[in-house]
Each structure stands twice: as C-alpha cells, then as structure tokens.
Symmetry: C2
Subunit: 241 residues, 2 copies
Amino acid sequence: MHMDSATVMVQGVRDEIAAPVDAREAQRERILAAAMRCFARSGFHKASMQDICADAGMSAGNLYRYFRSKEAIIAAIAEADRVRNAAVFEILERTEDPVRGLACLARAFLRDMHGRDAPALCTEIIAESLRNPEMRAMFERNINEAHAACAAALRRGIERGFVDAGIDVDVTVRLLMALGDGIIAHRPMADFMTDDRVDTALDTLLERFLRPPAAARAATAVKAYTGNADTLPSLQPTPSA
Amino acid sequence: MHMDSATVMVQGVRDEIAAPVDAREAQRERILAAAMRCFARSGFHKASMQDICADAGMSAGNLYRYFRSKEAIIAAIAEADRVRNAAVFEILERTEDPVRGLACLARAFLRDMHGRDAPALCTEIIAESLRNPEMRAMFERNINEAHAACAAALRRGIERGFVDAGIDVDVTVRLLMALGDGIIAHRPMADFMTDDRVDTALDTLLERFLRPPAAARAATAVKAYTGNADTLPSLQPTPSA
DNA sequence: CTGGAGTGAATGAACGTTCACTCTCATGCA
DNA sequence: TGCATGAGAGTGAACGTTCATTCACTCCAG
C-alpha cells in the first residue's frame, strides 16, 4: 500500500528506485508462491514457516525481512485472491446478456481454479473465514464486491428482459457463488467432472433458472435469449479500451 | 466394532455388561462433542488436545483411554457425519417425484446444518479432504453413497417423466451437492440467506433445472409435476415400516 | 565503509502423547 | 461382617518434538 502510492509520487525518478523496489516485490512474490504451495499441501496451520522457507529457497531470518509474520503472509494471499477474482467479475460489465455473462464468467473462474493448489487454497480460505474474524472480514469484502457486480448485472438483465423478474436477486447471486465455490471443492474428487461436461450443465442450469418463464417471455416486447448453449456471449465493445 | 458384535453375542447376559459399555460410549460421545466444538472454533490443526480436554472436563491422560490419537477423533467425527448424512438421503427413496424429493432433502440438510459449529466443521472436513488422503478416502466414501442415491432417484425420475431425460445425471448430481456444500459455507456470512428465501429459490432452481422442457413435457404421456412449489412432496408409503 | 540481503543457530512457548500415580468400588475370602 | 485385591477411571506433570520468531552475524555492491 505505502509502496504503491510512493511509487506513483516519485514516478519521475522511477529509474533510481525501481530496481530495488521491484527486487523486493519479486522476493515477496517468490515467498507468496512458496507459501501458496505449502498452504495448499498442508493447510494454513499445519504448514510451518520452515516449510515455506525451504520451498522458497531462503532462510527463516531473511523471510521475516519481507513478511512480519505468518498471518501477514496469509493475509497477502487472501488479498491476491481478491484482486484476481475482481478481474474475473469484470466480464459481467462487458456483457449485454447477464445470463451469457455468468456462463462466460463461470468458464473463466473454473479455468482459473484448475490445478492441485488452487482448489485446496480456495477451500482453505473459506474454511478459515468461518472461524477467524480477520480472515472473514477479508473474505466478506471480497465476496461483497463480487455480489454487487453480479446483482447489478442481474438487475440490469431484468430491466432488459433477459432475466426473470420474479427471482430473488440477492439470494440467487449468493446461490450461484455457493455453487461456484462448491464446484471448486468437489471437482478434484470426481474425475468425471470434466470441463466440457460441467460447462454444458452449468449453461443449462443458468438458462433455465434465470430466464423469464416461457409465458412471461412471450408477453415481453424485448426479445430475450434464443441462441443455443454453445455460443459464446457476444461481448459489447468496451469504450475505454 | 469389537464391542458391537460382542454385545450381540452375549445379549442374554446384557445386563451384566451393558452398564460399563454404555458408560464408555457416553464418555466417547462427550469427547466427540467437545472435539466438534473445538474443531469448529479453531480447525483440526489449530485446536489442541488440551483444548478438547478442557472442553470435555477431562484430563489428557484419561482422554487417551478413549481415543488412540487426535487423528482417531477426527476420523470418528467424519464417520458420524457420514452416518448422519446417509440418513438424510433416505428421503429420496421414499419420494415418488425426485425433484420434490431433492427439494425436501435440501430443506432437511440445511436444517441439520444450522448453528455455529456445523457449517465450520463441514467446510473443514472438505478442506482437509483436499489434502489429507485418509480424510479424502472417508469423504469420498461418504459422497459416493450420496451420489448413488441421488443418481438412482434422478434416473427413476427420468423413466417416469418427472425429470428431463436430456440432463447429464452424474454431473447434475455433483453440481447439486456442490451447491449444497457451498450454501452451508456461505450462509453464515450472509444474513439475508434466511431459511425461507433460500428454500424458495432452491425450489425454483430445482423445478426449472430438472423438469422436462415444456415442449417435451407436452409430448410425454406421463403426467409430470403440476403442483405449486410450497407443497411438500407426497411420501410413498414405505412397505417395510 | 556503510547499509541492505541473507544466514542459521538459538529461544521460549506450545504441541501430541506417555506414564507413574491415586481413587473408587465390586468381588473373593476369612 | 471385615479386609485384601485388582481392574478400570481419572489425574497432571513430564517428555521429546516442533513451532513461530529473533538476533548476532557474514557477505557484498556502491
């Protein structure tokens, strides 16, 4: 935080300090990568600082020059998770039809959460959030951002006739998030949950759950979704980029 | 295990040995209850045996007379969880329409998983299953039982026209389980997720996701679901009970 | 020669587990 | 009845280990 604003303020002499700052940041990220592997392998509390040091190829004393404590490392990981997630949720703002947007987002989310480490880490963060108040505050901030983005998209979709006006938007959004986190946790334990089968089923679920019922759709002037489930959503051109 | 079969074999003289065996079992359950509180509060690895002893009102030495190790306590808790879950999934076998059966099951499941401890414990078990192979084996046995029950119910429902024949049964089942576990984890962090709002949304989701599409339904001779979402499923009379 | 990068042994606390011990009480024997 | 016996319930200090964290130290570039 301090680093970031300092960097901006001295941008004119960036060359003088960029090297050391970047080196420091690179070391921090090396430690974070090692910590994520260890935490995914053993959990926050069973993984020891010695494990992280060994994985990062670094002595304990040196590691403590970059992170004040184990808690600080955990917090940094949760924050990195938040930033990465926030990026994924921007898909919704660039998509006209929120149902297709959610399907696209789900694909991106599930692709991001592949591998051995990501699911274990994600689930560990949630489990820890249910007991550690500081972790919970962090996770809630994360999830409230995502919730706001999804809810706004759904309400926009309702106005434009893409989405059933009868749904309970807040509960629906949280149900979909719960589904996402649940899939992340369950997928590594079921080898038949391949990407394409899950994608197809999720498409069907989203289309049927969120679309206005046929009767209501017929009565609506706005033409709602009529394409097939395999088409990617048509992205709106983004004015700023 | 040994105790159980022994008890059966000497049932004629049960009075002589019933008292000590029951006392032992009562102590074991007292320890398990304490351990569940501690594990829910701090997680499997951060909760210490001293914490559990204090919560159970018992010395460390005595506790080890009832459980060989901390791992053994964790295993016993996971097993108890499995047994309790298996009971809930029997609802499906007593219900003609699996969509209503799943809605009913979801209600029972969410009611069971209330309180402060149950969600934290359930999530902790899943998180631990993603790294500890022994815990994973136990959890997979648990979930495969449930999966089989759900999948059988859905296939039966497809034959009878209650459920869309086009769904991917295995993936759909696992998606619904993921949704359930996700709700358990998310609900404590969102106070608007009240029982009735979640139940209503889940009813809608299940009805729309699983029912045959309107076109297919009209072409089917079997009359599918036509009741409203608030009605409880009509339970079939169970021949054995 | 100064200051940041990096080391690794040392520290005290806390961990899971063990063990020598006491207490209680039903039973066997006088 | 009165007493010795021993098995099971329960205790809590002690064990060796591992933990997160610290610190006196070396190294090296500028």
